[in-house]
């Protein structure tokens, strides 16, 4: 084993020994950190799950092109063909004025209203599904299509997409802010834990420094302790989050199934669990590093 590796293994063992020397306080610290971490972890998993459920629905936006009254079938078909050939359009569907009227008549309460009209007031409609989903791209396409010959007006229907995107964006932002806030809490808790350890081991640090310990050698066990404590808290938070999600799945299973076959809030993914453990290990290391800097080691 090289000297460098031996020094790191020794520091990790020393950190483990510190945890074993005070098991109750280490356990309580880990639980406090895990409690701080579990909220953003579970919230992220739920948001991720809801986004996936939403993705199962047809959330494509569409633009309805209302044709000029009296447009004949030939010009309507020509317009339809030119739209199909146009890039950036996923599909085109025509609803003739007769089909539209028939659909309306099938709607409860509307039939009597329509009976009072002299003729069919509805225009032919071509429903276009654009490939793009961004608000700007949809607005530009809508304005271009509205200017096509034979088109009376164009109406975009991106509200659902926009609403969903807004919810996802807001959710992500809130979870990000929550995670940042609780990340600061993890750093602060580790900072204090390490500060206390430095105070109680001041003699040991001074003696080691007198016999030639470098700053890196003195700091290493504390940094390992912070990192291992953070990683342990991440593991516990992941486990608690997984249990909470499992319970949520069990309780909401029937409701979610009604949205579509197999639609469930996903359980904790390996990727999310790994991210949480690594992030909390880093936060623990950061708290320890800041604490050692302030403790002049």
């Amino acid at each position: 084993m090289t000297g460098w590796l031996r020094a790191h293994v020794g520091a990790a063992r020393a950190a483990g020994a510190t945890a074993r020397a005070a098991p109750l306080s280490t356990l309580l610290s880990v639980l406090a950190l895990a409690a701080a971490l579990v909220l953003p972890v579970a919230a992220y998993a739920v948001l991720d799950g809801l986004t996936r459920i939403a993705a199962r629905f047809d959330t494509d936006s569409q633009i309805a092109l209302y044709l000029l009254p009296g447009a004949d079938a030939r010009s309507r078909e020509a317009l339809e063909r030119s739209l199909r050939a146009r890039p950036g359009i996923k599909s085109v569907r025509t609803i003739t004025r007769e089909q539209a009227l028939a659909e309306l008549e099938a709607t409860e309460g509307v039939r009597d209203l329509l009976a009072g009209l002299a003729g069919n007031p509805l225009p032919d409609t071509i429903v276009v599904r654009p490939a793009a989903r961004s608000r700007d791209a949809l607005a530009m396409l809508k304005s271009e299509l509205a200017r096509l010959p034979g088109v009376a007006s164009a109406q975009g229907d991106a509200a659902w997409v926009e609403r969903l995107d807004a919810i996802a964006r807001t959710g992500t932002m809130l979870i990000g802010a929550l995670a940042a806030l609780l990340g600061v809490a993890v750093v602060a808790v580790t900072f204090n834990t390490i500060r206390l350890q430095v105070l109680t081991r001041r003699d040991e640090i001074d003696i080691a420094a007198l016999v030639g310990a470098t700053t890196a050698w003195l700091r290493r066990p504390f940094l390992y302790f912070g990192m291992l404590q953070g990683a342990a808290a991440g593991l516990v938070a992941t486990a608690i989050g997984a249990v909470l999600l499992w319970v949520a799945n069990a309780r909401l299973g029937d409701t979610l199934t009604s949205f579509g076959a197999g639609a469930t809030i996903p359980t904790m993914t390996l990727q999310l669990a790994l991210t949480v453990v690594l992030a909390s290990a880093f936060l623990g290391w950061l708290g320890a590093w800041l604490s050692l800097g302030s403790g002049r080691i």
Partner: protein
């Protein structure tokens, strides 16, 4: 190789001392040749401990030069200080041992920080404990040892890394005559194999029994030996 020490007009003024108070060291100048055994004597407050603190780079001089092996200790960058200390054996008046570690682990510390391979380190720790007569107490905690035994453990810790310079600040101050003699015999044994020894004491009887050059300090200055009494 034995180490040399040079103090050239060294001044040490501790921060926070009242105006008009004389400095702890006030232009002290002396040399210690490689392989010498030197007693540093003088009354309390003469500046003996300050000499050791400067040599171990615990403090930096306010003026003058402190040289160990012609290296300016006062000008060493902070990162180089640990490497200077690895070449020094330091024994202080109060045995500073890790209370929760056994004798073996206490003596192992200088080798652990220097990254010595564990088997080699264990061999050297046992050899050092054998030299100071503590081989049979390697598992004992410091609290279970007498003052003399604790000081012997400190000496083992000071010599385990084979330093070229042994600095001992009143190592016998808390010991009875028998234990003080044993400790001095240990220093004499290390001096016999070429280690430079600088030992602070004001025990005249001890110095009479164990010969060595005397260097006297008074009020931060080197004075003729008789004047320091």
């Amino acid at each position: 190789m034995a180490a040399s020490i040079q103090f050239q007009s060294v001044i040490k003024r501790y921060p926070g001392t009242a105006a008009g108070t004389p400095p702890a060291l006030d232009g002290a100048s002396f040399d210690v040749e490689p392989g010498e055994f030197v007693y540093l004597t003088g009354p309390s407050g003469a500046g003996k401990s300050t000499v050791f603190r400067l040599l171990a780079a615990i403090e930096r001089p306010s003026g003058g030069l402190v040289l160990v092996n012609k290296q300016n200790v006062g000008g060493l960058p902070r990162a180089s200080v640990p490497f200077l200390r690895r070449n020094l054996g330091l024994v202080l008046q109060d045995a500073r041992l890790l209370a929760d570690r056994g004798v073996f682990d206490n003596v192992l510390l200088p080798l652990a920080v220097a990254g010595v391979e564990p088997r080699e380190a264990a061999r050297r720790v046992r050899a050092a404990l054998d030299k100071v007569g503590m081989a049979d107490r390697e598992r004992a905690l410091p609290a279970s040892l007498s003052g003399g035994e604790q000081q012997r453990v400190c000496i083992a810790r000071a010599v385990v890394a084979r330093p070229s310079l042994l600095l001992a600040d009143e190592p016998t101050a808390n010991l009875d005559a028998v234990n003080a003699d044993r400790v001095l015999e240990l220093f004499a044994a290390f001096h016999a194999v070429g280690v430079t020894v600088l030992l602070a004491t004001h025990d005249e009887a001890l110095m009479a029994r164990h010969p060595g050059r005397r260097l006297a300090l008074d009020r931060g200055r080197v004075v003729p030996t008789e004047a320091a009494a």
